[in-house]
Amino acid sequence: MEFFERFMVPHPSFLIYVSMVLIALTSIAIVVGITYFKKWGYLWSEWITTVDHKKIGIMYLLTALLMLFRGGVDAIMMRLQLAVPDNTFLDAQHYNEIFTTHGVVMILFMAMPFITFFFNFLVPLQIGARDVAFPRLNNLAFWLFFMGAMLFNLSFVVGGSPDAGWTSYFPLANNEFSTSVGTNYYMIAIQIAGIGTLMTGINFITTIMKMRAPGMTLFKMPMFTWSSLIANLIIVFAFPVLTVVLAMGTMDRLFGTQFFTIGNGGMDMLWANLFWVWGHPEVYILILPAFGIFSEIITTFSRRNLYGYNSMVWSMVIISVFSFTVWTHHFFTMGQGAMTNSIFSITTMLIAVPTGVKIFNWLFTLYKGKIEMTTPMLYTIHFIPLFTLGGVTGVMLAMSAADYQYHNTMFLVAHFHNVIIPGVVYAMLAGLTFYWPKLFGFMLNEKIGKATVWVMSTGFLLAFMPMYITGLDGQARRMSTYSEATGYSTLNMVSFIGAGIMAISFIMLVWNIWYSFKNSPRDIGSDPWNARGLEWATHTPIPAYNFAITPDVSESTSEAFWDMKKNGTKLFKGKIEKIHMPNYSGLPFIMSCAFFLLGFAMIFSMWIVAIIGFIVILGCMVYRSFEKDEGYYIPAEEVEAIEKQYEKRGAK
């Protein structure tokens, strides 16, 4: 029996049992459903093995939305627990597990795949490329990320969730204080997903540096592509730090090394430093592509070129450099001395300058623009003041002396949600609405869409503004309950109501997708928003080869498609030729499954299984090395036939 006891959840509750049953039932329903409709072959040959950047993008999107739901349920449970004083809905341990998984899921398994969806879907289209530089690596990157995410979510029903906070500070995260296998899950699941992210970084830097359409100089790249380039550079320089620190944490927990122990030379602050050397740049990995999306939307719906293109680019470059110089502001109060605190206080405040440049550039783009208030634009207009508010409270937190008051209070929680939700989540939803017709060939309903934005902003303000007040009043974060005497109860109830309203807005989003799927017209052409970038210059649905003729942008600006529509600049010169395409492959999926097995076995210290998993991974690498794979060609005649079909359908 002892062997199986390890897999039991150490702090079970009624809620977890219900979830176990639901997860089991849903899994069975999915398997039965796919078998009944005979879709296994279709799934395997069209999706699992795909190397098409558009399909990989959609798989990232689905994962992100799934994880948004999971992280959202965690959030609602936390707010419900804190809604009234002395609540017993969740016990302290369960609350620990929920805030830990909420943080990890939302940052790493929701926001990251969401931006990676945009990298995948948009970057090759915006630079006029056929695919990314390494299509098969792209597939592997997705599956590693996916397996990492699933492994992390498995912790909830097998063996116990991590409970040391999303930052997993030592010594709290060591075996002594975090006794279940939960933190092993944290260390290993994030490691596997992180390897996938590093591959994405390498892939997209190479793609952007080498595969731009003829005539597209660096300073003619669309703003989203610029933001992707910078974000991927940050990925390549930040993620290896995470790799190392997670490996050290794993070794401390599994092999008894002394990196972060208290005795024998171990140094718990080393974890905090290394974690945030990755963790702070991570914030900018998320926010810069979000800014890129907003820039695309603002120019489209102001019908003006972006104000201050060059300053937009340079501000991102400066932000990317500064992002590595501020990590210590995450632990001003942990005894590092006044000099260090002052230096990091100043570098932190400096980041507000290039960010402010971007905000003003957007405002100047709007100024004198012919503004059209569509749903994506409404998200963007809501983003500007809400995000600025979050930025200002960020500067308040950057004052190290004052931080002794705010540290680890709800004020901080309010601040980072105040930047991440309007900054990243709004950008992702605005971008999703904006690019939805390009992805699926029909528009989302504008009325429901705009209502969603208003409901979301209302919910957001109600949920997070009270936290600033209770935080300044001393309500600590990560505290599972409080007494009536603290006087926090009214504001926490308001927060709970706000969280509920936000949940309603997400249900409205889902409803919108369903409603529009049923009712929206399908004959919208390839450019329904009258937009500006190259991504709109191809057909909808996008053919596998993206562009029949590689666009030539030597006579255009960064908004090549707009120039074509406005000035008649010719984009597509020459005639259709045969197109080289990469082959689909099942190998990355198999390899990722082996990674899952290896990770799971390591979490439970089942070394024989781990070795088997490792050998399968090596076997896949050897097989790949010896494989001959030159891809295939789509003949020119076939491309022409496909293009004629689009013309017949009356696509523009």
Binding site: I205, P240, Q258, G263, G265, L274, V622, S625
Partner: protein
Amino acid sequence: MAHIDHSRPLEYSTEENRLKILGFWIFLGAEIMLFGTLFASYFTLVDRTGSGPIGAEIFEITPVLAETFLLLASSFTIGLAIHAMRLGSKKATLTFMGITLVLGLAFLGVEIYEFQHYVHIGAGLSVSAFTSILLTTLGTHGLHVTLGFFWGLAIIIQISKRGLNHVTANKAFIFSLYWHFLDVVWIFIFSFIYLKGMM
């Protein structure tokens, strides 16, 4: 199948090859961060020896010098292999790659001896923060060499079976970048871990 540009060296001759080489340089950028983090952690923990030994008590110059000469020599021979490849000599390429791998294997042999020695004299992985980071840093480099050995072996088999073409030449060239990089990392290990530790 792919378009081959004969005016360039074989390893750069197709678009895909050029992409792979740039991609690998970016990967090496990530590797610099990986080893940089390990070195930073090493310098943080080097004096935190707890009840365990300090570096000067356990380092021995002879095996370290042997490792250094073996690895430096292998970096030289992989350079010769690429030179031979540029000249189009399959046999010389294979010979020099073979010598490289033999030297790499000898390096690993000495390193395994060294690790055994450390554990034997009471400087195992879990003794103190210092021994943890020392063995982790050395071990990470050693793992890279091990992986490189098998990677190089696969390329030798492919070149001997399929000859020097744009695919195999590209693989051999990227492998050589990797191998030189491991040598550079070793120079840092030699200077800042061993020499500094022995002073």
